[in-house]
Symmetry: C2
Subunit: 156 residues, 2 copies
DNA sequence: ACAAAAAACAGAATATTATTCTGAATATGC
DNA sequence: GCATATTCAGAATAATATTCTGTTTTTTGT
């Protein structure tokens, strides 16, 4: 199966940069910035969406405003190397879990979760993590302060 | 200094949920979903922005489409416990660095970076990290596969 | 290099949406 | 309970999104 060819030019990259900065920028504003007609811009943006270059658009919410004070990273060592897809999916299904990465090293996962506080963390461990069978060990790291947190990818 | 009171009702939370899902949803669609007039909705969204509950809006870009294949987490141990704000800011200033967290443990930072490949990682280490004086040790963890990666905060 | 095909684009027309304003309804403070 | 502030809806208008058409530019095959 041949994936649809993705070839982005400078204009596309500029669009991505601008929409990463402000996804709610109007199409005309976007077109004006790049000196194009709105109709042409719309066509490009749609293609970027169709090709899956743009996955979606998201509001960035201040976690403190909704009482999600606690950010944690959890390292999980598992028994099986590849047969643990179920575990990974089980972790990914937890709403408070924002990221699940399979990392290099002996069958490790790194997960990032945002919670209201230590109580919710303990509840989560009891109700969800305990059900995953092939976990060998788990190390929880608590974030004291976030200096930078951006979902923007640097686009050269 | 007293921070402006933030009190969000169920409607606000619903708005946040919807805008996290699709930040480019039109104001009328948003209003329709929550059975409100567009003008009232606009007023609420603006207040959420003013109060800093909504930090902004961002397009979610597929990293593979722009040749950012390598995701890494780097643990950094530093000498000083608090005097290393400069280091943290130096790290945060690197475009490829998406997150910088001060984590619990002996003066540790956890940073997340997205890069084109191992070559860029080495270049970064040589050109940027080497200039930070109070680094004691550094451990780089490479992500093999990302099962879940979302910037959405679960809103109860 | 050349013609054919495809893609990208601009301009105009129309549909839809954003925004503002005003007054009513609702909640809040004292 | 009254005054004040907040939230909201409806209507009018400004701005934007979207579609369509034809042109220009780029790509492709030979």
């Amino acid at each position: 199966m041949q994936r649809t060819e993705i070839n982005l030019d400078e204009t596309d990259l500029a669009i991505l940069r601008l929409l990463q900065e402000d996804a709610r920028m109007t199409n005309v504003a976007l077109a004006a910035k790049l000196k194009m007609a709105p109709s042409a811009m719309l066509e490009r943006v749609r293609k970027l969406e169709e090709k899956g270059v743009i996955r979606g658009y998201s509001a960035v919410v201040n976690p403190l405003a909704i009482d999600k004070d606690l950010l944690v990273f959890i390292f999980i060592k598992t028994k099986d190397s590849f047969a643990d897809d179920k575990s990974a999916r089980a972790l990914a299904a937890i709403p408070q879990v924002m990221e699940v990465h399979h990392i290099a090293g002996d069958d490790c996962y790194l997960i990032k979760a945002r919670l209201s506080g230590p109580t919710e963390l303990m509840e989560l461990k009891r109700s969800r993590f305990s059900k995953i069978s092939n976990i060998i060990s788990m190390r929880t790291t608590i974030v004291l302060e976030t200096v930078k947190e951006s979902s923007h990818i640097s686009i050269d």
